[in-house]
């Protein structure tokens, strides 16, 4: 058999995590470099996957399939379609930046015992998360996916609860308590979702007899596997609930602001740009393929919830006083768009949604990381503590503005393409929802520009007057992201080419076709 | 007379024993009540043995006695050590661990 590329892509960071954790306490820097190199190597592998993947070929490629737990009908079954490839690439791409941005976030302040090695732990955990995320993108076995979907929580939990912003406004003690609150909230929300899903997974086994996505999907398609309507709906709800928590979808969103607020900026990016994507991805891959009828049955409700997320998230973002919370609510709004696109059941909507996952990952990363640099300079997350930064740190301000413009999906930057596709895709089927969702773009402009105005413009606050501009390391983090934003905004074709066939497949799984325009072209 | 009555008696004795366990404070007495329950069981065994006309029940009775004896050995040891520690054999006094 050929070289197990997918396994390697997931295994490399896993091994890297172990190695990083094993680095002796003294050599912090060594650990950092090791982690960085591993992440870059993973990126290389991901690129290889990208290259080896043939958009017009089989639906699932680079497949691997080994026995694992026969008793549970579980197989170690990997394979990627266009959607997965894009998201794996995104993950592998972002991790190096996250590591680089968090270079100093885990340098220990307090003296634990000699064996207390936060730095090693921090980077090891990041790599562990990467490994789990990647494999859950690759898994075509529901159980395999579920396992890592769940296991992912543990490293994330330690990342959120264990490492926070330095120089917290209310002192380290309260900071610690707030952190652990956020971490516990994150874990319990997602664990609850996961356990509900576990029930559904078991139910699926009872109904289908195995866990292979491809087999079940085919069986559903050619009618050999028939599910009672109610069974299908309950199972769908079980799966969807977990994904909706992870995504997060209103009203299951409240863990995200706490988590992103308390975590360090790189970890916040890890949450919203990488981990949460698993949720939306899973909706597209599992909910729709396994339970097409139920998905269609649920569509109206889901769309309304997504719509609420969009408007509600944006409005709350406007009302925030804390930079990171603001970005968190903005993300909630964006996830609303993604979910809306997924369930619009049109090729524009779903391509848009997938593209949106990628673009949102990059844009949030850009905005959040710059915000992180800003916060680390001033030691406060409160918007009110800033002002006139633009004058003292123009580059920082500039990058921040570009990140913001991407967030409000300005044409010419990547997110615009995806957002517009989602809107069009929704509009063609559900005009009213599409129009209301369009208000989201106005609100997005509002919260982004308010944030920019309050922090960057106006007279220079004395506290920020001595603020240094971006350092080389930080520029290295932000610049590529911005370049990418512009490139994908001008020329998204490479990505859409990969995505489209997969989306067509998914659409046919749910037996849907794009509505035809009223006035056909003459030719 | 009708052996079934012995069953009723056994049941009665068992209930008395159980009640005793529930209401009496003194560990020794509680323990005795347990023994009473065991013996009620013995009576039931013997009665059934008689009714079924096989000897199993009677043999079981002997086993039960032995077991009861063993319980006495262990139980008294524990209770006595408790008594020597606290100078009281009240079950209710031994309630350090709760909630």
């Amino acid at each position: 058999m050929s070289f197990p590329l997918l396994t390697a892509t997931a295994a490399l960071p896993a091994l890297g995590a172990v190695a990083t954790a094993a680095v002796p306490a003294a050599q912090r820097t060594a650990a950092k470099w090791l982690a960085l190199l591993v992440s870059l190597a993973t990126l290389a592998l991901a690129v290889t996957v990208l290259v080896r993947f043939d958009p017009d070929g089989e639906r699932y490629q680079l497949t691997e399939n080994h026995a694992w737990i026969e008793d549970f009908g579980v197989r170690y079954e990997l394979g990627v379609d266009g959607i997965a490839v894009a998201l794996i690439a995104l993950t592998a791409l972002l991790i190096p930046f996250i590591i680089l941005a968090g270079w100093h976030d885990a340098d220990p302040l307090e003296t634990g015992s000699r064996r207390w090695r936060p730095t090693q732990g921090f980077f090891a955990l990041i790599l562990a998360v990467e490994a789990m995320v990647v494999i859950s993108f690759e898994a075509t076995d529901v159980f395999l996916f579920y396992i890592f979907f769940e296991a992912m929580l543990i490293p994330m939990y330690f990342l959120i609860g264990g490492f926070g912003d330095r120089a917290h406004a209310h002192g380290e003690e309260t900071a610690a308590t707030q952190r652990s609150y956020a971490a516990v909230k994150f874990l319990l929300y997602n664990l609850a979702g996961g356990l509900i899903m576990l029930a559904a997974v078991i139910g699926l086994y009872v109904a289908a007899g195995n866990f292979s996505l491809t087999e079940i999907a085919d069986a559903r398609a050619n009618g050999t596997l028939h599910m009672a309507t109610n069974t299908e709906r309950w199972l769908f709800l079980g799966f969807f609930f977990a994904f909706a928590v992870k995504a997060p979808l209103w009203p299951l969103h409240t863990w995200l602001p706490n988590a992103m607020q308390e975590a360090t900026a790189p970890v916040a990016v890890l949450i919203t740009a990488v981990v949460d994507k698993v949720g939306t991805f899973a909706m597209l891959r599992f909910c729709l393929q396994l339970f097409p009828e139920a998905s269609k049955w649920a569509t109206p409700v889901v769309l309304v919830l997504a719509l609420i997320s969009i408007i509600y998230g944006a409005l709350l973002a406007v009302g925030q006083r804390d930079i990171k919370r603001l970005v968190a609510y903005a993300s909630i709004s964006h996830f609303g768009f993604i979910i809306m696109g997924v369930f619009a059941m049109t090729s524009q909507g779903q391509s848009g949604a997938t593209l949106y996952m990628v673009n949102h990952g990059i844009s949030t990363a850009a905005l959040m990381l710059v915000a992180g640099f800003l916060i680390s300079r001033r030691g406060s997350r409160l918007i009110a503590d800033y002002g006139g930064v633009q004058k003292v740190a123009p580059v920082l301000a500039g990058t921040f503005l570009i990140g913001g413009l991407a967030t409000l999906s300005l044409p010419g930057l990547a997110p615009f393409v995806s957002e517009f596709l989602v809107l069009v895709g929704t509009f063609t089927r559900y005009p009213v929802i599409g129009i209301i969702a369009t208000f989201g773009i106005v609100l997005a402009a509002l919260y982004t520009l308010v944030l920019y105005q309050r922090t960057m413009t106006g007279p220079v606050k004395p506290e920020v007057s001595a603020m240094p501009d971006l350092r080389v390391r930080e520029v290295l983090v932000v610049a590529p992201l911005i370049v990418l934003l512009i490139f994908l905004g001008v020329y998204p074709k490479p990505v859409t080419n990969i995505i489209d066939p997969a989306v067509k497949q998914t659409l046919s799984d749910v037996h849907e076709k794009d509505p035809r325009p009223e006035v056909e072209a003459a030719k | 007379m009708n052996p079934v009555n012995y069953l009723y008696l056994a049941a009665l004795l068992f209930t008395i024993g159980a009640t005793g366990v529930l209401v009496r404070r003194n560990a020794i007495v509680v323990f005795m009540c347990v023994e009473l329950m065991l013996n009620a069981c013995n009576l039931a065994f013997v009665t059934f043995s008689r009714m079924h006309g096989n000897l199993d029940g009677q043999i079981i009775a002997f086993f039960t006695m032995v077991v009861a004896a063993a319980e006495v050995v262990v139980g008294l040891a524990i209770i006595v050590s408790l008594f020597r520690t606290r100078h009281s054999a009240s079950v209710d006094d031994a309630s350090l661990m709760k909630l």
Binding site: L421, T428, G458, V460, E518 | -
Partner: protein, 654 residues
């Protein structure tokens, strides 16, 4: 030849990239790069123009397909450019006026430490604006549409340390976003209705009409109204006009280029470009005309009340664009004249703004006309150019404004019926008011006694030479002086344009013949003969001037604004329309968000925390059963046993 279109856009884009990414090393000479590149694209424009002239009237459409932008299933958006007479006109206007203003800015921004970035932004604007007018489909147009919005955001807020500037920038972007919403919804409608949004197949040409013909009027009206919303946002038409006045916070060259000559006219371009759609949706057209008429009066009235010279000019811009929109709303009768007025207005309004800038430059950034007066002998060139612009805008016979505006008024009457009378009347009234407020500006600035001599310390609205400007008392009393050549030359050029432009276009209907193939044209029959209308216009003109003279020429102008009539006070506050926005939208929005934040915490989050707390309480209550007494444990066992037996028997019973 069409391969020159992309470079046309690329040149200023390149400039922007170089200047913005280049960093400090370009601070000293960088701005010349910007100037150069904008002239380059002007040159390219001229070359293409010559090429078009070389072709026959019917074949003057060049398209350049670069690459497929968003290919998703049925949704195909390409990066394709379309150069026809309409866009050609705009290209020349944008690059021409743009280049002049670049030049002007070299002098105007000479002392600004962030000059490099200023020119970067200007170039960015040029690129975006060119993209807007050259795009071959609505989505690509949308990119330029928001691009110019971004550029104007950056330039209005160029002096970011001034909270007022930052706020104005934000406001401009937001109000525009509302308009953009309209545009994007319009595009979605097009996609669902026609399966595409490229100009060619959608709008068609005279010979073979496009897909538009096939759609229901309702759909088309919806699309048209959405486009109108977009136009209102970009062109500061009622009800989305509120941002333009504040936009004057930006440096004057910006006001001249973006907020007078080019960007704000994009709305007119959109309507004219979408003529095919509007023609098929009369109701939408009526809405357009109404918006135009209302705005032209609104802007004029506001213009009368402002003492800030730039705000006054802004009001006038609003009202002039009102004319254009009105014309565009009239359909094929008016399209050409709308564009013509747009071009002439581009000349004289830009000239006026540059003049105003020059004045401010000489008066160390004083903007209050009540602190001007008698400046004509100190800055003759400015006075002459400004004066010519003035004559042009009020429609002095023979100057460009006269031709273009007159045609619009005619067309308005030609609409016929009561509508015609109303619209025409409005246009006429507007002409009168225009004459009034422009004369007012003229008089207050260049005539009368020199109020600035004993003026209180200036309140610099544009400390382009800050902070040195504020320091040192010699600035307490300004000593007006003429601006440097680099500033006056562009003014002169524009003045020439504003004098002869109109005549040049109208004689032999040059402009009409040039545009007609794109926009189409029909001569409505006006109830009044052209002569009568011209006469009426002249009357209005004289009346307006006379009134203004009576108030500001005859008697001295108070250095501090009098309380003024109710209307005046309202007009000073943009007819309270802004206050309305503030109370309803801003306040309301704040309350909404605050209450939502509260809800999110107390309700959505509360439910979850509540359940957690609930389990905790339950746990605490259940714990009590574990009371440490062996006998109570025995009770629970006994009870359990009883239950078990009972349940088992019960199971058998049922």
């Amino acid at each position: 030849m069409e391969n020159l279109i992309a470079p046309l856009i690329a040149a200023p884009l390149l400039g922007a990239a170089v200047l913005l990414v280049g960093g400090r090393r370009l601070d000293r000479g960088g701005h010349w790069i910007g100037v150069l590149l904008s002239f380059v694209s002007f040159a390219l424009g001229l070359v293409l123009f010559a090429d078009l002239l070389g072709k026959g009237a019917g074949h003057r459409t060049l398209t350049q397909h670069l690459f497929s932008w968003i290919p998703v299933a049925g949704f195909q958006a390409d990066v394709t450019f379309r150069l026809d007479q309409l866009s050609m006109t705009f290209v020349l206007l944008i690059t021409g006026v743009g280049s002049l203003i670049h030049l002007y800015s070299v002098g105007y921004m000479a002392h600004d430490e962030r000059r490099r970035r200023f020119f970067g932004y200007l170039n960015l604007f040029l690129a975006a604006m060119l993209l807007l007018v050259l795009a071959d489909n609505y989505l690509l147009l949308y990119v330029g549409w928001e691009g110019v919005g971004l550029a104007s955001f950056l330039l209005i807020g160029f002096w970011q340390h001034k909270p007022s500037a930052a706020t104005a920038a934000k406001k401009a972007f937001l109000v525009n976003r509302v308009g953009d919403m309209g545009l994007s919804i319009a595009i979605m409608l097009m996609f669902t209705t026609f399966g595409g949004f490229a100009f060619g197949p959608l709008l068609g040409t005279h010979e073979e009409p496009g897909l538009v013909g096939g759609a229901s009027e309702g759909k088309l009206t919806a699309i048209a109204l959405m486009l109108l919303l977009a136009a209102c946002g970009k062109s500061a038409q009622v009800p989305l006009q509120s941002w333009l006045g504040d936009a004057m916070e930006g440096p004057t060259p910006v006001s001249a280029l973006i907020h007078a000559a080019t960007m704000v006219t994009a709305g007119v371009y959109l309507i004219v470009r979408s003529g095919a759609i509007f023609n098929a949706a009369p109701d939408a057209q009526l809405a357009v005309t109404v918006v135009g008429a209302v705005t032209l009066l609104f802007g004029a009235i506001v213009g009368c009340a402002k003492d800030d010279i730039k705000k006054a000019l802004a009001g006038s811009t609003m009202s002039q664009i009102g004319y254009m929109v009105l014309a565009a709303g009239l359909g094929p009768i008016g399209y050409v004249f709308a564009i013509m007025h747009l071009v002439t207005h581009g000349f004289f309004k830009a000239g006026l703004f540059l003049g105003a800038g020059s004045v401010m430059h000489g008066m160390n950034d004083e903007v209050d006309m009540r602190r001007y007066g008698g400046l004509r002998k100190y800055m003759p060139v400015t006075f002459v150019t400004f004066g010519l612009g003035y004559l042009a805008i009020i429609g002095f016979p023979g100057l460009s404004g006269f031709f273009s505006k007159d045609k619009i008024i005619e067309a308005a009457f030609a609409k016929g019926g009561t509508e015609g009378w109303i619209l025409g009347g409005a246009a006429l009234l507007g002409a009168a008011i225009t004459a009034f407020y422009m004369t007012r500006v003229m008089l207050m600035t260049f005539f009368g006694e020199e109020r600035w001599r004993n003026a209180p310390a200036p309140s610099p609205a544009e400390p382009s030479v800050e902070p040195a400007a504020e320091a040192g008392g010699e600035h307490a009393v300004p000593h007006p002086h003429e601006s440097p050549k680099v500033m006056t030359i562009p003014m002169i050029v524009l003045a020439v344009g504003s004098v002869f432009g109109g005549a040049f276009f109208s004689i032999g209907d040059r402009f009409l013949n040039w545009l007609e193939p794109v926009t189409g044209h029909d001569h409505g029959d006006s109830p009044l003969s052209a002569g009568v209308i011209t006469g009426a216009t002249m009357v209005c003109l004289v009346v307006g001037v006379a009134l203004a003279w009576a108030q500001y020429g005859g008697k001295p102008v108070p250095a501090l604004a009098p309380r003024g009539s109710l209307l005046t006070r309202a007009a000073r506050r943009d007819l309270l329309q802004d206050d309305f926005n503030h109370v309803v939208l801003v306040r309301g929005g704040e309350h909404l968000t605050r209450s939502l934040v509260y809800l999110d915490h107390s309700l959505v989050d509360g439910v979850v925390n509540g359940t957690a707390a609930g389990f905790g309480g339950l746990s605490g209550r259940l714990r009590r059963f574990q009371n440490g007494f062996a006998r109570s444990y025995a009770v629970s066992m006994f009870g359990g046993a009883a239950l078990l037996v009972a349940a088992t028997l019960l199971m058998r019973a049922v």
